[in-house]
Symmetry: C2
Subunit: 166 residues, 2 copies
């Protein structure tokens, strides 16, 4: 059995016990989060969020890419979120390589160059990376200035968030 088959079995059980069919589309707690895709981050649990509470945007690194900005703009303007959080974390895979090395390796392995993705967004300092992502949100003309944007580093050894000063 593939892992996909296993998780589909789990979904059958989940659906049998499902009681949340009446939740509205807009997030109940008006919160949007940008976090890393890392398997060790269970975002809802680490923040005490329930199904229906918050938009959760995730990608490699917890980077405020054009795509994350797209999602945040939709989150606020169409679905009413009013506070934003960015979460990066210790021991991130993005600390382990350099963009150009990875690009060269993939070109060599596959024999094909490509322009998408244009960047991998590897970084060398987690707190500084969080600061740069906060800045990208705060400087976007379609994100209102009154929205709080706070950034954190999650420690995968302790489960604890530490705030990064802006």
């Amino acid at each position: 059995m593939t892992v996909i088959e296993e998780v589909l079995k789990s979904n059958e059980s989940y659906a049998k016990g499902f009681t949340l069919g009446d939740l509205p589309m807009p997030p109940g707690r008006k919160l949007a989060i940008v976090a890393c895709m890392d398997a060790r981050l269970t975002v809802e649990e680490m923040l005490g969020l329930k199904t229906g509470d918050a938009h959760i945007i995730r990608n490699a690194g917890g980077i405020v890419t054009a795509d994350a900005l797209r999602s945040l703009i939709i989150s606020h303007h169409l679905l009413g979120t009013q506070e934003f959080i960015i979460i990066n974390h210790t021991d991130c895979g993005m600390l382990t390589f350099k963009d150009e090395e990875l690009r060269a390796k993939l070109q060599r392995q596959t024999g094909t160059a490509t322009v998408v993705p244009s960047h991998f967004h590897a970084f060398s300092d987690v707190a500084e990376n969080v600061r740069q992502q906060m800045q990208k949100i705060k400087s976007h003309p379609w994100i209102p200035e009154h929205i709080p944007v706070r950034g954190f580093v999650y420690d995968v050894k302790t489960g604890r968030l530490t705030e990064v000063s802006a």
Copy 2:
């Protein structure tokens, strides 16, 4: 108290009971998921996943953007995932608008035009949208052909996943 202050309080409790500090960086079940950011999708719960099991990539719509491709490439080539899932869902906010209408509205409201994001990726047919996203993964030269890519629509009324044929 802001919602951010509330979730930070919740994180203090989470960290006090935290016992997962020894999980390795690569996802234990070698699975990567691209899903919508919608607040009604608690991806781990709907699939029976535990902390450490899978990479979870999320954005508005569950779209395979350049950023999602970036994340999937890192997920497979650096961290060893071997199966990919795409999850869109019923009652998605992306079914409720058209890209050009939203862009025009934001330009009017803010008095500023911007080229980032270049697209909002609104769509009108969820199953067809899932098919298009699967195709974007399968046709990327840096995603090996042997990786299974399966797509699903999650029903927010029932908690159930339905597979979309390729």
